[in-house]
Symmetry: C2
Subunit: 199 residues, 2 copies
């Protein structure tokens, strides 16, 4: 969950947490002005890029989960749409251009205050490469995915759904929620295998 | 767009806006600790509740757009899923319980830093009433919708898509973005008609 606020971002006075009149949950309230500050979930947007039957995967060069595999994804920025954000993250992390982005999964991750939104997309051209947040970017077929070495449960769930839908010949839309227990159930490794990719 | 930050919510020192190393856009950075604060879009979640062919509509009792008509909707809270948030807003604003919520529309409203997410839902039981943020709640058939008196462009667009899909007998999924120009194009009224509902 995002860090609780201690000082008012408008005037610098301390905030206190209390339930404002007419509300039903605690909010950060400025002790100087009474202004209320709302803290809300953040969106993470990303792409499942398929090219010649394989999926564009990034090995993370940054924490958290440095050394683990992910789909290109990151926080939605102010001023951009969710599909544009997913395409931007793919450009930044995998140096790849995509088209035909279609909503595929929306996964609520309430214990960390996030919503993860994944789009299916087509690779434009053949180019991809590691961006600054990736150690290595490659296309992996389904049988090449190293499931315990995936970075996050939402990546695991999204790829599961993707391959299952592809096998039955129809891509659905997946709205579901993932909790802390899913991390354990998916048996993701605690340490990256750290093999050298020679790059 | 959300209000820019002036003081660090962690320590109360002033923040400055600059582009951190390795980033490509301005962020609020604490002048005391160098901590970076990210500002991201917020999700608004709501329901299109159909009952016996009519849609559950709320006349707003609060600003903005007091006196205009809306679908029950509001900001997603920390700790809840997007469908649960949509159901909660329907309970709060229309005193109605819903089931079978299905994702229908995700509308990016980048100029105000919001993503509006609407679910289709079924009314459970026959009960509904005005919650504290509503002046009046009623079921409206398509020919009873007062289009220029709708509160927001995303409500207008969502209802347009809903009735068009219903007419062709198939509900799709609508991912699109709405800008400031849509408000003008939709010719929403500037003032509510303010008729008395007798309640
Ligand atoms: Zn203040
Ligand atoms: Zn600080």
């Amino acid at each position: 969950m995002p860090k609780a606020m201690r000082f008012c971002p408008d005037c610098g006075a301390p905030v206190e947490y209390r339930i404002p009149t007419g509300d039903d949950r605690e909010r950060a309230v400025c002790t100087a002005t009474g202004d209320i500050f709302y803290e809300n979930p953040r969106n993470v947007v990303g792409c499942i890029v398929e090219h010649e039957g394989a999926i564009l995967m990034c090995r993370r060069a940054i924490e958290p989960r440095l050394g683990f595999w992910t789909l290109p994804a990151g926080f939605l920025e102010l001023g951009e749409t969710t599909p544009d954000g997913a395409a931007r993250e793919t450009r930044e992390e995998a140096c790849a251009e995509v088209a035909d982005v279609k909503l595929f999964a929306m996964l609520d991750v309430t214990h960390i205050g996030q919503v993860h939104i994944f789009y299916r997309a087509r690779l434009v051209g053949e180019h991809f490469a590691a961006g600054p947040e990736s150690a290595y970017v490659t296309l992996q077929r389904e049988d090449e995915i190293d499931w315990p070495q995936l970075a996050f449960p939402t990546i695991h769930r999204t790829l599961e759904r993707y391959f299952a839908d592809r096998a039955r010949g129809h891509f659905g839309l997946h709205v579901e929620s993932l909790g802390a227990a899913d991390w354990r159930a998916m048996a993701l490794d605690r340490e990256p295998t750290g093999h050298d990719d020679g790059c």
